[in-house]
Structures are given as C-alpha cells and as structure tokens.
C-alpha cells in the first residue's frame, strides 16, 4: 500500500491516515460514551461503588489541589500589586485574586493536577485490569464492566471536582488575603472591598460548570484509555500517558469553549 503511493503524495497520505485515525478514535470514544450512558440504568451495580470512588478520586485529591491553590493565591496577590503599583488603587488586588482564582486558575489548575493524579490512576488501574483479563473475568461473572468500573468513576469525578474546586478557590483567595495583609500592607477591609468590587454570583456558577466538565473529561478519558489498553505493561504505560495528555488538552479546549460560550458579552 505504502509502496504504491507516489513520493509527493506521501505526506498527504500520512495526514489522511492520522486524520482517519483521529476520527476513528473519536468514533470509538463516542461509542464508549453511549455505552456509559446506557450502563447508568444498571443502578444496582454502580451505586454501592460510588461512595468509595468519591473518596478515592475526590477526597484524596483535595490536598494536592489545595497545595496548588494556596501558592497560586500568593503569587496572584504579589503580581497584582506589582502590576498595579501607582496606577490602580491597591484594593484591586482583592478583585484580581478573587476573579482570577474563581474564573480561571481554581478550576483549570485543579483540573490539570487531577488529570495527572486521577486520570493517570484510572487509566493505569483499568489498563492493568484489561491486560490481565480481569475485565473479561467481570464479564464472565455476568457483570457489566462499564457499569461496574466506569460509571462510578465518572460520576465520582463529576460530583467531586466541583467540591474540590470550591475548596481550591477558597484557599487561593485566603492565601491571597494573607499575603496582602502581611506583605502588601493592605488591610482586610481593603482586600474584601476589592473582592466584592467585580464579584458576580455567576462567577461561582461558571467555576462549577467548568469543574464539572473537567471532572467528566478527566475520568471519562482515563476510563476510555484504560479499557482500550492493549499488550502488557508497555501498553498500560502508553494508556496512562495518553490519558494525561489527552485530558490535559481537552481541559484547555473546554476552558476556552466555556469562555466563548458563557463569557462573551
């Protein structure tokens, strides 16, 4: 096949093949997603596993998200004061920290951190189960593996990411506030005044919409890559890497998507 392609056409053929591969993968993901929605009906299988996954994927991820958020808050406060010096009243530091944390950095940084922690974890675990035939074994014991393995993880992601992001937003703002009063000679009143200045209740909604979609992306991609794993330990490694790379990219794509859809005047 390749041998027949004229030299000049080869790059095009390669593009065609990878585009074909992309659409094929997209189609497989679509099928997987539909299967997941169908498996929601299998309530008896996934409900008992949901709480465990919420703890495993959600609660256990809170420390890393908070760690990230705290340092982000500190940096935001310092950068804001550095940028504003002389030109803008200092209480705008509060506005910038609050807005940036809630609208962008809280959800996105948590999402990226969790794609590494949660997405990789899911892909590696399910990938290992795939290559060691444990998923087949579930099938033979009359379990629907999608309902048993995928649904609780994805629902846990959808439910817990917003919770994590709320915590991250709060800690980021608190860290910014502590920085402001200790290093920037601001008063708490100033900081809170800034915080309130541009605040809209919709900001929180926006943050949570993002968090929910990132939770879905990270867990669904992790599960998909895990299920699609082929060929031993190397295959598991490949799936894990792909899960992290693809979900990180999708997080940024969704981030832009929500901004375009929901923030345009």
């Amino acid at each position: 096949m390749t041998a027949r392609t004229a030299t000049w056409a080869r790059p095009f053929a390669a593009v065609g093949r990878s585009a074909g591969g992309f659409f094929a993968a997209f189609g497989r993901f679509g099928t997987f997603f539909v299967e997941m929605l169908r498996s929601l009906r299998d309530v008896g299988t996934w409900v008992p596993l949901l709480v465990g996954q919420m703890r495993h994927l959600g609660v256990d991820s809170i420390p890393i998200a908070l760690f990230l958020a705290a340092f982000t808050g500190i940096v935001l406060a310092l950068q804001a004061s550095y940028t504003f010096t002389g030109a803008v009243p200092l209480y705008f530091v509060g506005a910038l920290v609050g807005k940036t944390m809630i609208l962008e950095l809280g959800p996105v940084l948590s999402g990226l951190a969790l794609s590494g922690r949660v997405g990789a974890n899911i892909a590696a675990e399910l990938g290992t189960m795939r290559v060691s035939e444990q998923i087949d074994a579930l099938e033979t014991l009359a379990y629907n593996p999608v309902a048993y393995l995928v649904v609780p993880r994805v629902l846990a992601g959808i439910l817990m990411f917003p919770v994590i992001v709320i915590f991250a937003n709060a800690i980021g703002i608190v860290a910014g506030w502590i920085t402001a009063i200790n290093l920037l000679q601001m008063s708490t009143d100033d900081f809170i005044r800034g915080l309130r200045l541009f605040y809209e209740p919709f900001d929180i909604t926006f943050s949570l919409i993002k968090a929910t979609s990132f939770g879905l992306v990270v867990t669904a991609v992790g599960c998909f890559e895990g299920f699609a794993t082929k060929g031993g330990a190397e295959g598991v490694g490949r799936s894990t890497t792909r899960a992290v790379v693809i979900s990180s990219m999708l997080i940024l794509v969704f981030d832009a998507f929500w901004a375009v859809v929901l923030l345009q005047p």
Binding site: A137, T140, A142
Partner: protein, 264 residues
Amino acid sequence: MIEMIDLHKSFGPKVVLNGLSLRVGEGDTVALVGFSGAGKSVALKHIVGLLQPDMGTVRVDGTDVPSLSRPDLYELRRRVGYVFQFAALFDSMTVAENLAMGLIKHGGFSKDEIEERIADSLERVELEGYEENFPAELSGGQRKRAGLARAIAFGPKYLLYDEPTSGLDPVTTTVIDRLILKMRDELGVTSLVITHDMDSAYCISDRIAMLYDGRVLQEGTPEEIRRSQHPVVKGFVEGRPELVEEGSGGMRIFANTPASRRRI
C-alpha cells in the same frame, strides 16, 4: 449442550479459527488440545461472547450466543463458569471477595450460604485458609486454583476450563483432574477443558478434539486419539515434532500460522 459451528475468527490478517466445529453434549466433558497458539483460548472466549466470530456461530443450550442481547448474554453467563488461563483474579480483592463476586451476581444466596460456598469451593481446590489473602500473595498455581474455585463457586451448569492444570505439581494436578470428574459425575456439569497435558485429557474427558490449522483435525474418544494414525495427531500426543512436520507437509508447527500463511 455447547455447539461451535463453522467458527471463523481473524485478528487483522492473522487467521486464527478457520471453520472450527465442535459439539459438547449435555453432561459430557470434552478436552480441547492443540499446539500453543493454535487458538484454543480464542475458541473458548466465543462461547461466552467475549469474542464475536467473523463467521459461523456458537450455540449454548440451543441459543445463538453472538446474537444475544446484553441482558440475555448476562443471563447465559450466570450458567457458565470460566476458568481463565492466567486466573484473572481481581487483584484489588481478597480471594474470598473474588469468589463472592460470582455468588452475589448470581443472586439467591444468603450471606451464610455465600460464606459456606466460598469455604466449600476453596476446600475443593485445596486452598483452605487463604480466604483473606490477596492474589499477589499467592503462588502461580494457587492463583490458578483460586480462579477455578471462583468459577465453580456459584454452581454453574457449564464449565469452561482454560488449562486448569498447567503449572501445577503432579499431585495437585491429580486433585484438579478429580475435581473436574466430580463436577461431571456428581453435578452433571457440561465441560470443555483446554489442556496440554495428554494424561489429564485421557483421564478426564469423554471425548478429545485436536485443534489444528483453525479447525478440529480429529475428534474421538481418548482411546481413538491415543491410537490415532494421523501423523499430526500422533506426533502431538506422543510429543514427536518430526511426525507433525511430516504430516503438515513440512510446515513449521511452532509458527502456528499455517492458515494465515497460505493466504499470503
């Protein structure tokens, strides 16, 4: 009754099954033998719908497996125990939890009954006292027996064994062979057993079928297979590669791909 009818299965260009037909009568134990890579495990997976045939079909109890809806497929799987070649134990669960998985899904067992059955199944495979161990803490042979215990625990009507005795010591092998016989004689289970061990095959089976080149080369009673004059079968059961080579027209046997090669 399990019937495989003219099964064809390829993975990409590689033809694995090429017109396999095999029947396991009600209450019978049939041994499926063949070279490593001949497609025995692939054939077995078709019976419970883990793989879909490219052509041909599998019937269990007269129902056509490839065309079953999901709920019906799960219904069928509740009647079939599957022993995986590499055990496929759930490694996040203890041995007891592994066994409980099938029992819970089967329904109709109380908590006490589940415990009782777990203990009983583990005893049958000589694994008493390993309830609380994780698969990673077991030896290869122990894992294999735990997988076997998981398959028999819920009392299936059909048992599919993928090399239940490979990697076991001679005494444990005999224990497992006797267990397979007991499943047939006491519980009337219908079994298909993949094995490499001809002594086991002679001992446990009503019939033996040899898979070669994607189909059944010869099928018969243990006695018929033992005395087979077909060079490939004879070479296989006696472990004589030169006979196989001669019978297969000089094709290398361990390439395992005679059928696919012929297509190229």
